[in-house]
Structure formats: C-alpha cells, structure tokens
Amino acid sequence: MTGINKSATQVWAEIISNKKVGAYHHIVFSVGEIASSAKPGNFVAIAVGGESSSMVLRRAFAIYRTFDRGASGGLLEIVVAPHGAGSTWLTNQNAGFKVDLIAPLGTAFGIPTEPVRALLVGGGYGSAPLFGLSEVLKNRGCRVDMVLGASTAMKIYAPLDGKRSVSSLTVTTEDGTTGITGKVTDVLPGIIAANEIDIIYSCGPMGMLEAINNISAELGIMHQCAIEEAMACGIGVCMTCVLPIKGEDGQVRMLRSCIDGPVVDGESVIWNSKRSIPEGTWGAN
C-alpha cells in the first residue's frame, strides 16, 4: 500500500524446535506464508514474557534463514543470544509454545545483478543472516568468502551446512580459543586482496561494522551492513532506533534503522555518533 512494512504480517508462530548451540539458541518457528516473503537481512519482532509480562516492548532478531513450504509449512529460524530478560525468556520456551511474531521487517541485503566476488563478515551471532545471504549470492553465480569473529570460540556461530555454502571460511577469536587470534579487521585486508573482493556484507556489533567500513572506504569497496540500534517497536512508529545517515542528496537525516535499515550502505552512515547529533543534520537545532 505505502511501501512501509509492506510484507509485514503478525502471526502466532509455534516453536518447532529450540536448541542450544554454543553460547546461543537456534529457534525454529512455524510461520506459514511469511517464509516466502522474507529476504536475507530482514528481521522479526517478537513479543516476550507472556500476557501479563512487565516487558512491554518487542525484541528484534535478524532472520537466520527461512524454508518456504507453502502456507502451512513455512519455517523461519533465528539465533538468539540470551543476554537480557526478554531474550532469556525466549530461549527458555519449548517446542509447541506459540509466540506473537511480526515479520518480515526492514530492508534486505542488496543482491548484485552480475556475478561478483563477495566477502561476508559476521561478529558473534551476527553471522546468522549471512548464511542465507550466501545461498542467494551463490545461486547468482557469485564467489562467497566468509570471515567470522567473536571474543571466544563459544560465541562463533557457524553451522556445518552454512560452512558448505562458502568458498572459504576464516575464523578469528580475541582469546585465541579457535581460529586466528585477533579481530576480523586484522584479517580483512589480506583476504580482500587475495580474493579480489568487490563487495563486503557485514552484520555484528556497531563497533565492528564501523571498523570494517574504515577498511572498505579506504579500498573503495562497496559495503552493505546490517546495523543495530535499540528498538522499541520495530515497525517505524516509535522513532527510537534512529541514526544519522547521509542521503543521495548529501543531506544527513536521523533515519529509522527498522524502516530505512537494518541493511544500509556503510558509506552513508555517520559512524560513532552515539550521544550527539552530527552538525548539519536535517532539523538539528
């Protein structure tokens, strides 16, 4: 109708399975036709805590992948880190329980029309949406390399079937418990050069996305990233998840990461702008 939230549907989604994987939970929901409209990069918003909960806001999760099996059998999967009361509640729900779920929401990763060489970079459970993206890119004839990083081995999310979809996988951990000791940005320049990367797709903490963007900007490589801002609603009405983004007209505006994101062009973001409004932002006073 208006283009905003145009495929978003609110459903009672049954949990089909909920399994602990390392530091995370992999949860599968039955969502019917939503599975056919979701694209890599989109997210879901889930009500937590039950009917009489004191948690009044939804929680947003990137979609890990979907299986479109018609109206009755569509599945949607997410990877949850139980670090707050809401996400912990969700990871404690068992198969058979139904949650109030809205999806798909937000922008999706842009898929190039020509076969390109893509590098996918994920931080922690930010790797989840990259595996579905990898499948789509591979089906378009792209070469896909992947770098995953986390503080420690338990926080690397890399399922076996996900690994199979990429040409190479490099893992970094800050404590050296698996892979190369260090951060993803330590290995990026080498991998970009060796594989002649055309575009970087990233998902993870804002600090990591900014560090990746510094590298992509210096090398003149396109960078699409899935940003992360605290959201109250996920559907564009609360105006809390904003960040300064430069438009094609050169004007910086406070845009909503739920409607104009989460996937944005890394170069358009005014990074490191927490706790201040950048000078020249539209409507700054």
């Binding site: 939230n5 004191s54 009044v56 109250a232 609603c233 009405v237 927490k274 706790r275 932002t281």
Partner: protein
C-alpha cells in the same frame, strides 16, 4: 444498539479509541496492520514549525511495565507535514487530530495560523507539555501563566470551529489549577496525561542511559497517575471533555480512564508492543461497557464519581 460515539468540544467521533501523539508515525506504518478508518481518530505526532532532528541516541530504555523515551519531537516541520502527511491521511478517510508543539508562544500562534485553513481536521491537540526539551522551564504546562499564554495564542489565531485540546503534564503540584487556566484561555478539551519525567542510570557505564539524560516515562507503570489526574480534573471541571491517556494496554484499562472522566482514550506505548493494540482495545472496551450494563459510552464517562450511599462510597 450500543452507542459508541463520543465528542471533544464540537468534534464528534464514531468511537472513543484514538492513537496517542508520537505513537503512530505518519499513519502509513500502521496502515499495513489495520484500516485507519477503524480508529476513533489518529492523533499525529506533535508537529513543530521547522524540521527537527530530535535528540541524540540512545533515546529509549525499557523499564518495568513501561519505557523511557527522549525522542525530542523529531519531525518534518509543519509545512512538509501539511504538504505530505495530511493529504495522505485524508485520502485514507482517517479522522484526524493534529498535534502541535512550539518553543515559544509566538510558535504556537504561527502554527495555529497555518492550521486554520487546513480542511479535514477534527481537532487540534496543543502539546504544551513535552518533557524532552533542553530546558524544563520551557514546559509551558508546568506554570499557569505560560500554559495560559500558549493556549491563548492558539485560540486567538485558530478561528472557526476547530476544537482545541490542551495536553497537560502530571509533573505539577496541582494539575487542576493548570487545567482551569487553559480552559479559561479557550481550550475546549484537555489531553491527560503526557509522559512523566524520569531517568534510568546504566549500572555498567554508571551514567544516565539516555543521551538526553532524562526522558518521558510511559506505559502501564504510569496508568494510576493518569487515572488520578483525570479523576481530579473531571471532578473540578465536569463539563470539560477529556482525552485520557497513560498506560492503556487493554479494554479494561480504557474503561478505567473513562470511569475516571475521560470521554475518549489514546493508546500509545501499547502500540509499540503490538501494532494492532488500538483495535484490540477498542473491541475489548465495547465488551467491557456492554457487560457492565451501559447502553452508551457517554453514560460511563466519569461514572466512578457517582454518589451511591448503598455502596458505602466516600
């Protein structure tokens, strides 16, 4: 036949459940989830004279049964708003209440002049109580004299029949005194209540969580404050219509505000948790009213104030 109709000043509404200002975007965001004509009215975000970036992030903190926000009235400014948002809402057939906010008495006068020629508007909410301004001294509704001046400026400039609804804050010693001032200044109705000023300190960083330090508390946590404010004002000014709001999350909650004296109810924070909350609340409210034996909404307005010695009330 149950009569769900209500009025605020001269404006009539098919049902008493509205969105709350600043909680329904431009209307487009929610239109994916329900038909906007289902609403008693859509109350727009509080619009200012000029485009406004709003405050820095973080702007939000969830709190027990509520949330703190410091959006700071982000918006496109009145000219772009009248050019883009209003025509779209009119096309949808929505019943529209425009909310305005100014930084000075002169701002309110100019905003009212810009609104007077706009067609298809049912009422004007004059937000004189946004807590997210740099200087608390700028909250017009905190002082009788400034509250009066802002409403007088609108009254003088609006002309015609458009009802003025003054939105007040509960963060005052005596809300009845402020209500009496704005009614004397020409307000046809009152919107009660705006958010309650609050703060959250992040115990990891050991600093205020919001970039703006303070924010407005909303959600079920503040509902008793809303009920109290509506009750007190309705008691003092029984003939002034009240648009009630503050933590309404169910039909039962809406009914509570109506019993206190509200003629219509706005739903804000509940929409963030559930985009279809307004519709659910409207249906539940009608069931509540009917199951309590009311033939119309109007009979229930202020019903908690009745004197009934049989029930041993004070």
């Amino acid at each position: 036949m149950f009569n769900f109709r209500t009025s605020l000043g001269q404006a009539e509404f098919q049902n008493p459940v509205f969105t709350a200002s600043g909680c329904a975007g431009s209307g487009k965001e929610l239109s994916q989830f329900f038909d906007l004509t289902e609403l008693g009215a859509i109350v727009t975000k509080s619009i200012m004279l000029k485009p406004r970036s709003g405050r820095a992030t973080p702007r939000m903190a969830e709190t027990p049964s509520g949330m703190l926000n410091s959006i700071g009235l982000q918006g496109p400014g009145i000219d772009l708003f009248l050019e883009k948002d209003i025509p779209w809402l009119r096309e949808q057939g929505a019943t529209i209440v425009v909310s305005i906010a100014g930084e000075s008495v002169e701002d309110y006068a100019v905003l009212a002049r810009k609104m007077r020629a706009v067609s298809g508007i049912s009422a004007l909410e004059v937000n004189i109580s946004c807590p997210n301004v740099e200087n608390r001294g700028q909250v017009f509704a905190c002082h009788p004299a400034t509250a009066r001046a802002a409403i007088e400026a609108v009254r003088r400039n609006i002309g015609g029949e458009l009802p003025i609804i003054a939105k007040l804050t509960p963060d005052v010693t005596n809300i009845v005194e402020i209500a009496e001032e704005v009614v004397a200044a020409g307000a046809d109705g009152l919107a009660l209540i705006n958010t309650v000023l609050g703060m959250v300190i992040d115990t990891n960083t050991m600093r205020p969580k919001l970039a703006g330090k303070t924010g407005g508390l909303s959600g079920p946590a503040i509902r008793p404050v809303a009920v109290r404010a509506i009750y007190q004002v309705h008691q003092a000014l029984p003939h002034v219509k009240i648009l009630g709001m503050g933590g309404v999350a169910s039909g039962r909650d809406a009914f509570e505000l109506i019993l206190a004296g509200a003629s219509a109810v706005s739903v804000g924070t509940a929409t963030f948790g559930n985009p279809t909350a307004v519709i659910k609340i409207k249906e539940e409210l009608q069931e509540q009213l009917i199951s309590h034996g009311f033939d119309s909404l109007r009979e229930a307005v202020g019903y908690a104030h009745r004197r009934d010695t049989n029930e041993g009330e004070l």
